[in-house]
């Protein structure tokens, strides 16, 4: 049904790297799902149907991993044999801890009304800029084979991503009280 490639990038016939052609990724994903999706085997035997679920799940996992910049970065490190699940205190430089605290505080201080929207946008931009900056550094570190540096940068990306999620949550809670 489907030949499983060595890694997710190869699965979608894409070069392994942080920069990715998302149009191609999506097109290949659709092509491959068309071959393995359970809907294609609805009338097949039990074993075939089970296999379809497994292969389709695998493709979804591969697709979602490569689609998200953060998960893609973590996956690239894993391909280099680096475990990104474990975070040690030493991975977080003091400057980073300060940055975290500063961002979190500014989020916590926002008023619970519409006037917070503009400030939220501002924070969102700040986080996005920092993400872009760190992503650039991550790509460089990876290219220069500075894996330890890349790992630290990954954790910074992780933090900024999480911060963005919190901004979204805040946005949602503000929307539920605000006029628009």
């Amino acid at each position: 049904m489907l030949a499983i490639a060595d890694n997710f990038f190869a699965q979608f016939a894409l070069p392994a790297g942080f920069e990715i052609d998302s149009g191609k990724l999506n097109a290949r994903y659709r092509e491959l799902q068309a071959q393995v999706h359970p809907d294609r085997f609805a009338a097949a035997g039990e074993a075939r149907r089970l296999q379809a679920i497994q292969l389709s799940s695998y493709l979804n996992e591969a697709y979602e991993t490569l689609r998200s910049p953060l998960r893609r970065a973590g996956y690239l490190l894993r391909l280099q044999g680096i475990d990104v699940e474990q975070v040690a205190q030493s991975d977080l430089a003091p400057e980073l801890l300060f940055e975290q605290m500063e961002l979190r505080e500014s989020l916590a201080e926002l008023p619970e009304n519409e006037s917070a929207f503009d400030q939220l946008d501002e924070l969102n931009r700040k986080a996005a800029n920092r993400l872009a900056e760190r992503q650039g550094q991550f790509v460089q570190a990876l290219a220069g084979n500075q894996l330890e540096e890349a790992r630290k940068l990954f954790h910074e990306l992780q933090f900024l991503h999480k911060f963005q999620m919190e901004i979204h949550k805040k946005e949602e809670s503000l929307e539920s009280v605000a006029d628009f």
């Binding site: 659709r30 799940s57 949602e172 929307e175």
Partner: protein, 623 residues
């Protein structure tokens, strides 16, 4: 019947040995439909009166199901409590939720059978929402059988995209109980997108905004060459036309100065509210009367009354766009689905939010069933798949309870399905040999704010120091959006597995028992059905005769009048009892007694018509 011949473009049918009857079923809160292939094209089927929509109402009497559909709905105000409507909104709910939910008037609930779902208390005894849904599904399967002359081999049943695991499980159970083979549970907005997009070869990003009688979904899909990829979905399974009716009803109560409304009066009040609300879709104001109070509801007042509800739909739209990381500017089309999107307040809010006029050239009532019908044809193998493919997502995050009553999310919302994900957990006490796992669904951080799906225990962990054992928990969501969970301890390979069922749901043993019961009760059900039909025929005849006498009573002789009165009285008496044969007999008797009168009325009517016609024309036609 030539209607039944299914031919397929490209001669696919010729090559296939067997054609199996497949259908798509839209099991709606207010209206349900069935669609199947007729003459190579998937269409919704109508009943004998030409109605495609089957009102999702079931009338219960002492003997069982009296009527399903329009006949049941018509009795809602007269027999409150025994006509169950909007049962879909009770699916997957606990007894507590039903009793405090507010919007389930005039019903009473009890715990149901054993640990099955909580039930509506009806004249037929407790009937849970699964059974009510099964009665509706049975009626649709029958319609399909009668129209096509074939047994239904399988069906795709639609569910709101935002349905949780418990609601999906119970929908599946309802179909099983109705003896229907479920090919797939399909999300309603996805089904709508298929019906809309497939024929036209649409491509681009489309929004499906589906506001029905009881539920609201909004999905963002990317369409390309027959592939329908859901990018994000959101909604509210307790938001629909019913809530708008409720808001108008509350307004009516306030206006009329009524202190309280007794539970049995609610169906009538909600009908008044519903009529006014639907009128406002075509008019600037609606006349309303409730008890002695009379007044008007105008569009501006209505807009104000329902502002909070409209706003909730738009909040969901915002969230979907945010989840997909897309701006509304990137949307190519907005599709309105569900009867409640006919409300101008909704159209206005949607147009404003997405910055474009929604499409209005599709039938918002039928698209969901049609999309499901198309998918059913493909899944059962009657129709070649070509490029056609549906890629859907998991609507709500799935996770597991960890220390401090927090939720660790394992599968996030809007993840493409099917999907399998694993995560490792460890013991927190030295020598711990078992681990209790609590599976929850929802977006909140605290367990208490999410829906509990299942609890199970993994035993046989060898005693080790805290944190040494490695337990791998795997969540698998299949293409129906249903979850199963397994756990395995790494060093011993000790395993535990559950198909997640709501704590008050049915296990397969219970389903079998219910199936057996329902087979045993089949005769009673048939009798109940016959009774319902006999009553309906009788009332129709009685009504017809009464209005005839009102109009043309002058041409009745005293003896005739007596005869008819007597037949009417006897039939009325029989109606209060539960013997269908007797009702039928007396209906025939009444018909006989009034025959001469009816014939004379006919002559009169024809005479009146003739007087208005020119003799020439008639003469010509006769030749």
């Amino acid at each position: 019947m030539s209607l039944l011949q299914i031919s397929e473009p490209g001669g696919g049918a010729a090559r296939r040995a067997v054609h199996r009857r497949a259908a798509g079923i839209d099991l709606g809160t207010t209206n349900s439909l069935v669609a199947t292939a007729v003459g190579g094209e998937v269409r919704t089927l109508a009943d004998a009166d030409g109605a495609h929509l089957l009102p999702s109402a079931v009338h219960y009497g002492a003997a069982g199901v009296l009527a399903v559909g329009a006949a049941a709905k018509a009795r809602a105000a007269a027999d409150p409590g025994n006509v169950v409507v909007s049962a879909k909104r009770a699916l997957g709910k606990s007894l507590g939720e039903l009793q405090t939910g507010g919007n389930f008037r005039p019903y009473r609930f009890d715990a149901g059978k054993g640990n099955a779902a909580p039930a509506f208390v009806t004249a037929a005894g407790p009937r849970d929402p699964v059974e009510v849904s099964a009665a509706i599904l049975r009626a649709l399967a029958r319609r399909c059988r009668e129209e096509t002359g074939e047994e239904l081999a399988g069906a795709v049943i639609t569910v709101p995209a935002y349905f949780n695991d418990a609601q999906r499980q119970q929908t599946r159970h309802a179909a099983e109980l109705a003896g229907i083979e479920v090919l797939r549970l399909l999300n309603e907005p996805t089904a709508a997108a298929v019906a809309y997009g497939l024929d036209r070869g649409e491509h681009g990003n489309i929004i499906v905004f589906d506001l029905g009688g009881g539920t609201f979904d909004v999905s963002l899909l990317s369409l390309q060459k027959g592939v329908f990829e859901v990018l994000a979905t959101g909604g509210d399974t307790a938001l629909g036309g019913d809530d708008f009716d409720q808001a108008v009803a509350d307004w009516l109560i306030a206006q009329s100065g009524a202190e309280t409304v007794a539970a049995p009066d609610w169906p009538a009040l909600l009908q008044v509210a519903n009529r006014a609300r639907e009128q406002l879709s075509d008019a600037d104001q609606a006349e309303v009367a409730w008890r002695d109070w009379r007044g008007t509801l105008d569009a501006a007042q209505f807009t104000e009354i329902v502002a909070a509800l409209v706003r909730r739909t738009i909040l969901s739209c915002r969230r979907v766009m945010r989840d997909a990381g897309m701006d509304t500017g990137a949307i190519d089309n907005v599709l309105l689905v569900g009867g409640a999107t006919r409300m101008p307040v909704i159209r206005g809010a949607v147009t404003k939010f997405f910055g474009r006029e929604p499409l209005t050239d599709i039938d918002p009532d039928r698209v969901v069933a049609m999309g499901a019908g198309i998918q059913a044809e493909v899944l059962i193998g009657n129709r070649s798949t070509g490029d056609f493919l549906l890629l859907d997502v998991n609507p709500l995050s799935l996770g597991i309870e960890t220390m401090g009553e927090l939720v660790e999310k394992i599968i996030r919302r809007n993840t493409a399905i099917p999907v399998a994900k694993s995560q490792e957990f460890t013991t927190f006490r030295d020598g711990q040999t078992a681990m209790a796992l609590h599976v929850v669904q929802g977006e909140r951080e605290l367990v208490s704010e999410c829906r509990s799906l299942a609890r199970f225990t993994l035993g046989g962990i060898p005693p080790m120091v805290a944190g040494a054992a490695k337990v791998k928990v795997t969540f698998q969501v299949d293409a129906d959006g249903l979850l199963s969970v397994s756990a395995e301890e790494a060093s011993t390979g000790s395993k535990a597995e559950v198909q997640v069922k709501p704590s008050f749901g049915l296990d397969s043993g219970q389903i079998e028992q219910m199936l057996r019961d329902s087979r045993n009760h089949a005769r009673e059900d048939m009798r109940a059905r016959a009774l319902g039909e006999a009553r309906l025929d009788a009332t129709r005849l009685m009504d017809a005769i009464k209005s005839a006498i009102e109009e043309d009573g002058a041409i009745l002789s005293a003896a005739e009048q007596d005869g008819i009165d007597q037949a009417l009285a006897e039939l009325r008496k029989a109606l209060a009892e539960e013997d269908p044969t007797r009702i039928e007999e007396l209906t025939r008797e009444l018909n006989r007694t009034s025959e001469a009168f009816a014939a004379r009325r006919m002559d009169l009517a024809v005479g009146a018509a003739l007087r208005g016609e020119s003799i020439d024309t008639l003469g010509c036609e006769a030749e």
